[in-house]
């Protein structure tokens, strides 16, 4: 295939992308290339490219942009570079070089922030789990869009919901959402924000019971609620589940989780989320006199649960400071353990045993037994 044809295909795609503001999905569709039709098509706002031409055009766009990268850019080349990198990224969004070229173009003002948002959304429609696209959007926010208010972040949360329903266990989308939440918490009224976020996420979580990333987000949200109320920045009575204290908040979450476990037996995620809730209860509601052994469990949990990467940096610092506790601490605190904690642990043990008894398959049983072992390790 000659380079003129490649250029024509790239330009056509570029025109379609830049003319339509309301684009749907992008995808590569199978076509043998025997029919004499254009490989780029637009159906109801959704753009497709035929599979037969992708290999050749990608090679052309790839080599052209890399050649361009090596020398000083003239203005003409920048325009072509915009098209080439756009094409390459639509096909292979994993290549960081192209993203770096894009960022250089944005900094020079040759690509606008809106154009880039549109491109990343198209990429996400094909690969909803693309971390590079999420990262580019975060970069855009910090560099270009920060002045345009927080309206954008609100829309971005909708984008996360869309991406998470497009691909199961979409860790990157949930992580992006957590990033957005942290940004919003700095600027908006916490009561309203936490209320709307809590309602929408809980509804989603109830029909996605084996999504660890989602459950982790729920727990993070609850943790932020507890923290905000401690700092006096929000009142728990005005935010669902409408309780009056942090301890009650965790209890409400535990009973919500319990209903899900009973209704959907055999999902490991729910038990992990439960364990995390119990440990959060212990950290936030039980008197500072917490047995060292239990704290070790918390450390262990942070290290084991890979999906908690999003908060790792924060938790790690805390855990490090706990590890430095003097050995003498252990003796005194075991004696001071509060009654709340003991009764919660006893309740958890009973519930875990009940799960084992109610299990109808080997898998359900093994999942429940793992939880029995977990709660068995908590010292009362």
């Amino acid at each position: 295939m000659d380079s003129d044809t490649c250029e024509r295909i790239i330009s056509k795609l570029h025109n379609l992308v830049s003319l339509n503001t309301n684009l749907g999905d992008f995808d590569i569709v199978y076509a043998s290339g025997e029919d004499n039709v254009s490989p780029v098509a637009c159906v109801e706002g959704n753009i497709s490219i035929a599979s037969w031409c992708v290999k050749h055009v990608y090679a052309h766009a790839y080599h052209s942009s890399l050649r361009c990268k090596q020398k000083l850019w003239s203005y003409d080349e920048c325009e072509s570079l915009t098209r080439w990198t756009q094409f390459c990224l639509l096909i292979r969004p994993e290549v960081t070089t192209f993203w770096n070229l894009r960022r250089a173009l944005i900094k020079k003002g040759l690509v606008s922030g809106d154009q880039e948002l549109l491109l990343t959304k198209l990429i996400l429609s094909r690969k909803p789990k693309c971390i590079e696209a999420f990262y580019e959007r975060q970069w855009l926010y910090t560099k270009v869009l920060a002045t345009s208010g927080h309206e954008w972040i609100r829309q971005e949360i909708d984008l996360c919901t869309w991406a998470t329903s497009r691909h199961q266990n979409n860790y990157h989308a949930w992580n992006h959402r957590l990033w957005l939440l942290n940004k919003l918490l700095l600027h908006e009224d916490r009561n309203d924000l936490l209320k709307s976020e809590f309602e929408s996420v809980m509804e989603w979580a109830e029909v996605h019971v084996s999504e660890h990333s989602c459950m982790h987000y729920v727990n993070q949200l609850v943790e932020r609620m507890a923290l905000s109320s401690k700092e006096g920045l929000c009142s728990l009575e005005r935010v669902p589940p409408y309780v009056s204290s942090v301890a009650q908040l965790y209890e409400a979450m535990l009973s919500w989780n319990q209903n899900l476990i009973v209704q959907y037996p055999g999902h490991e995620t729910l038990f992990y989320a439960r364990k995390s809730l119990v440990l959060k209860f212990q950290r936030d509601c039980v008197d500072t006199a917490t047995p060292v052994t239990a704290r070790e469990h918390l450390v262990e949990e942070c290290l084991v649960s890979g999906n908690e990467i999003g908060t790792q940096s924060a938790t790690k610092d805390e855990t490090n400071s706990w590890c430095c506790d003097q050995p003498a601490f252990k003796r005194t605190c075991v004696e001071n353990v509060s009654g709340d904690w003991a009764s919660l642990v006893m309740k958890e043990r009973k519930f875990a045993e009940a799960c084992v008894t109610a299990a109808t398959s080997d898998f359900e049983k093994s999942v429940a037994q793992a939880y029995v072992r977990t709660v068995g390790r908590f010292s009362v």
């Binding site: 199978y30 599979s51 789990k129």
Partner: protein, 201 residues
């Protein structure tokens, strides 16, 4: 995810006749625009295959990659197939099939079952039923569901290959099928290669 993708009613008068689809409804919004038609074709194709291989009066649930197909063939030849994901409880799915088939039989007289084209069947409630059962909790009181289906035996299969007769291969069936377009067959081949659910990226 707790999700229903497809609900179809088929007719299979005797075990040696290939079943015909009487009515089908799909919920494929979460898939990419260009994949929807292929996925729909495949769900119709799979529904037909497993109904064909399901004995009259028996209940089966077949696991295939990230999907579950639940099938039940009544003694009068009416069959129901539900395609869901793994999280949707299979007891609820089978209760749903029962209810849907009862409703269908009450609305559509049995003389219309053989030989009527899908579009001519006077039964338009299927999409609404599919939407209603999306959330099992709202659809029916969960405890009642469990009581009803607890006694009946549901045969579980771990792959669709387990349902096929000896010597049959899914790849061959896909290649031979006239129900599937070229586009869908290509989609099947690439989907096999890039089953991306376990990838980090």
């Amino acid at each position: 995810m707790v999700k229903l993708f497809a609900l179809s009613v088929l007719y299979k008068p005797t075990s040696d006749v290939s079943p015909t689809t009487l009515k089908a409804a799909y919920d494929l919004q979460q898939f990419s625009f260009f994949q929807r038609s292929s996925i729909q074709e495949f769900m119709a194709f799979t529904s037909k295959i497993i109904t064909e291989r399901c004995a009259v009066g028996s209940r089966q649930s077949v696991k295939e990659q990230e999907y579950m197909c639940h099938v039940f063939v009544r003694s009068d030849g009416l069959a129901g197939v539900v395609v869901s994901d793994h999280e949707y409880q299979y007891r609820v799915a089978h209760t749903m099939i029962d209810k849907v088939l009862d409703e269908f039989a009450a609305k559509v007289p049995s003389h219309l079952w053989p030989g009527t084209h899908e579009t001519a069947i006077p039964f338009t409630e299927l999409p609404a039923l599919l939407a209603k059962w999306q959330n099992p909790r709202e659809a029916d009181a969960i405890t009642r569901v469990q009581e009803e289906v607890e006694d009946t035996k549901i045969i579980l299969h771990n792959t669709i290959e387990a349902v096929l007769e000896r010597g049959e291969k899914l790849d061959d069936l896909v290649n031979k099928s006239e129900m599937l377009s070229m586009q869908s067959k290509a989609f099947y081949k690439t989907a096999r290669k890039t089953n991306s659910c376990c990838n980090f990226g």
